[in-house]
Amino acid sequence: MTHATSVFDELTFRRLGLEASANLRFGGLPSSAIQIPTADAGRTFSQAVPFFSRRSPIKASDALWSPFCGLMRELGMPLYALTPELESVPVASVPIRFTRRAADEGFDLLELETAEAIELTCRRNRPGVDQPLAQEDVEQVPTLPLELRSVDELNSLIEACRQLTDYRTPIGCALTPADVVTDVRAAIAAQFDFVLLEFPLNGKQGDIYDEQLLASVADAAAVIKSSPRSEVPLFVDADVTDSEALIILLAAGARAVSIDALIRQAIPAAPAASSVSYSSMGLLGSLGSSTPKPQADIGPIERVLKKLLDTLACRMMQTGARTMAEFDAGLLRGFSERAQQAARVPGLRG
């Protein structure tokens, strides 16, 4: 486990110098950084760019995994991953790591201790499915993990997580929007450090012009902005495959958005099998089979993410926004016809 230890040393090291990740290769955008205040008043988690990968289409078993992790690190984009998934990744390629606890899974001590941010999945109780107990047993709160019955219990769980992370790690809440305003309000009241809206994929691609998606994001952002904890960042994980559309989501009120669908589109196709079969050629066959596999090409993904960052830089310059906080729906009309379309969605501020 020497290697694993060095990975964790590296993670510990990263805790000390997160600000350093603002040095980006692709025309870095220090102004696009977002901040997540944590329970420890002396510490704010700083994320260099407003993008992250949460449901990465590249898996730890893929040849692209290591280069992908390296790219995410280089760009300062957090990656949701479990510690075992990073054991095969060279230390120099370990990215900022977020982790999450699904509603039907337990906690892992190592995950809690080493992640840069932790997300607890909360979902609206579905009578007869999530909480088949009698209604009187469950406090009527929309966002509770499976084993909890009341807000007091949720608060205790968050406090326990804070203790185990020395009050230094942001603890967020992932919600599947049902009643966005109520759910986000409950999450803010429960003292979560960030709120993530997860739009279920349902096998279809998210459409940025889907009024419901944009309006949900705008409503959630408005709830947060009007709360006493207006600094709480809103993350959005939707299946959006277009750079411009991701940036429109940022303008609609998200502070960071998932790039997974963008990456999925950019994954290079597996190299075609050779037209010559070596399997029946004796020694030549064995030589053929031992030929090293072609190097995984991270280039297409790199280009897509570079374009995303360039587009964001361009839109910020166009609209005169100096920080992500200034980059809001009021500026949408300024930067493209598609953005103008989005700006007509009811509920968008500006």
């Binding site: 039907d104 107990l133 909890l148």
Partner: protein, 223 residues
């Protein structure tokens, strides 16, 4: 060389900040250390995330998430524990001399939890490898979503035993108000009897293994 036991360190919870108590337990250098925690009055999140095989004796009642993520400590509670005791536990042991709240041992992947009193609904929620023994009556939906491990119920249980369980073994001594259709009763083999005996001994409970019935989920057995 002396074999004298390490003296216990006594901590009065009425006089000490809970966070500092937890830090003290979690960062104990001496793996043979023993701690007596006095005056527990329902504090939540006590004894969380302990990795060392230290001994902890608690006098009084504990609140929510007692022993959360315990990974090595041997804990004895002379009182009751609140909901979700032993949540996500991976090792060590917790023995509760009183009663337990709901969701006892939820998501526990290892270690042992014994309760001499009753356990409220959903004890062994999504149990995933740990051993759990409840001496008295267990509430509704014991073993809900259980994946692996052993759940020993030494008395009656309310409706919905083993609802949604996909693995593991449930030992039941009394009657169940209702059993999930996905469970089937199986014959007790010698290995089951042996395992049950060991679990009962560890929980400090005297009972004959022949009085128990065994339930396991049917293969591919959703309801």
């Amino acid at each position: 060389m002396s074999d004298a036991p390490t003296p216990s360190e006594t901590i009065d919870l009425a006089q000490t900040d809970l966070v500092s108590v937890n830090v003290r337990l979690r960062t104990s250098d001496d793996q043979s250390a023993s701690y007596d925690l006095l005056s527990a009055t329902g504090q939540s999140n006590l004894a969380c995330g302990i990795r060392s095989p230290i001994k902890v004796n608690v006098k009084g009642n504990c609140g929510l998430f007692f022993g959360l993520l315990n990974d090595g400590a041997e804990i004895d509670v002379e009182g009751d524990v609140g909901p979700a005791c032993g949540h996500s536990m991976t090792g060590g042991g917790i023995l509760v001399r009183g009663h337990a709240g709901h969701s006892l041992a939820a998501f526990a992947r290892g270690g042992f939890i014994g309760v001499h009193g009753t356990a409220r609904e959903r004890c062994g929620l999504y149990l995933d490898g740990a051993d759990v023994v409840v001496r008295q009556v267990a509430g509704r939906e014991a073993g809900y979503g259980m994946r692996s491990g052993n759940l020993v119920l030494g008395n009656d249980t309310a409706e919905g035993l083993g609802r949604g369980a996909t693995g593991g073994t449930i030992y039941l001594r009394g009657a169940a108000a209702s059993v999930a259709p996905s469970l089937r009763e199986v014959r007790m083999k010698d290995s089951d009897s042996m395992r049950l005996s060991l679990l009962l001994v560890r929980a400090g409970i005297r009972a004959a293994t022949k009085d128990f019935r065994i339930f396991r989920p049917r293969k591919g057995g959703e309801e």
